[in-house]
Amino acid sequence: MTERRRFIFAGAGLALLACAPSLRAQGRGMTAIPVVPPAPTLRLPDSDGKTVDLAQYKGRVVLVNFWATWCPPCRKEFPSLGRVKKLFKPAEFEVLAVNVGEDPDTVFSFAGHTEFPVLFDRDSKAMAAWPVKGLPTTLLIDRQGRIAFRAVGGREFDDPEIVAAIKQLLKS
């Protein structure tokens, strides 16, 4: 297939995946995890190739988002990761966006420069240790490094319910 034809098909392909009468599908809030288990290891390169370790954020609340550029709800919620990041001080809260299976050029084409680290789990091995059953899945990690909240499916992370959950974790 020529590159021009591949471009045309790629664009048409993504569009056709979501074409039909319109219905909004965006979840609300995050679910509290009663057992509050320790977060698994998350140690991955960022877009500069620098290794980022979740453990270095202990003492802060961290929102860990697993996503991919081809995933429509992931794309829709992505801007809200930047918005929620801006609501809190860097010393108290961070966002880590873990891209699954893609390369930095592809990710940059969609995301551009972000206010938070984008990490690359190219072989999805890091993700395998996490309670992720689909994309997007988002976990809120408390200041003690434990999984406190989870959301499966797209969200708007500056939604008042989620902001309240983050504030609750900052107090504990």
Partner: protein, 182 residues
């Protein structure tokens, strides 16, 4: 950035614009609601899936059996207060002739890709683009993903999706589905 990647940028941008619709909502052709559970579906044609998976690293030849299978993008949302669980193995299509057709599980396709030496990145993308074989939905959760039937019904059919919650097993049905023909 390479020429190919610029093309990907434009393709993704165009696709995002076309797919967004009003208020960036996902647009579903079929919808059923039972209590607080919503199931939605869009038929997927050969061209759209070939394009999608070509962009993920599949060759057109390798993805052909998947692209030609009767397939859908499904969405399921838990608007209630109980946890839901679903297994694709419990779902089936029912044709007008009463014939039952199971859904092909993602792991069955993955076994095909492994035999065909599909690159790992492509297999990873495929795995996560599918409606997962098992799902747990807490209140507010929703998932979307692709799935195929084991065989194509000869005409319109019903899709019977089973799920369970704290009150037992339930069914939610999408009527008048049809495989895409492109």
């Amino acid at each position: 950035m390479t020429h190919t990647r610029w093309l990907v940028v434009f393709a993704l941008s165009a696709a995002a614009g076309l797919a967004a619709g009003a208020d960036d909502a996902i647009e579903w052709r079929h919808r059923a609601t039972q209590g607080a559970v919503t199931l939605t579906a869009n038929p997927l044609g050969v061209a759209s899936r070939t394009a999608f998976y070509a962009a993920r690293g599949f060759s057109a030849t390798t993805i052909r059996p998947y692209a030609q299978a009767c397939g859908f993008s499904f969405g399921m949302q838990n608007g209630g207060s109980a946890t839901l669980a679903t297994r694709l193995a419990d779902w089936h299509a029912v044709g007008k002739d009463g014939r039952r057709i199971a859904l092909r599980l993602p792991q069955a396709w993955d076994a095909t890709w492994q035999k065909a030496d599909v690159p790992q990145a492509a297999r990873i993308a495929f795995r996560w683009a599918q409606f997962q074989a098992e799902n747990f939905f807490e209140p507010g959760d929703w998932i979307m993903g692709m799935a195929t039937l084991e065989a194509s019904p000869s005409g319109p059919f019903r899709l019977v999706a089973r799920y369970r919650d704290n009150k037992g097993n339930h069914e939610i049905v999408l009527d008048e589905l049809a495989c895409a023909h492109d």
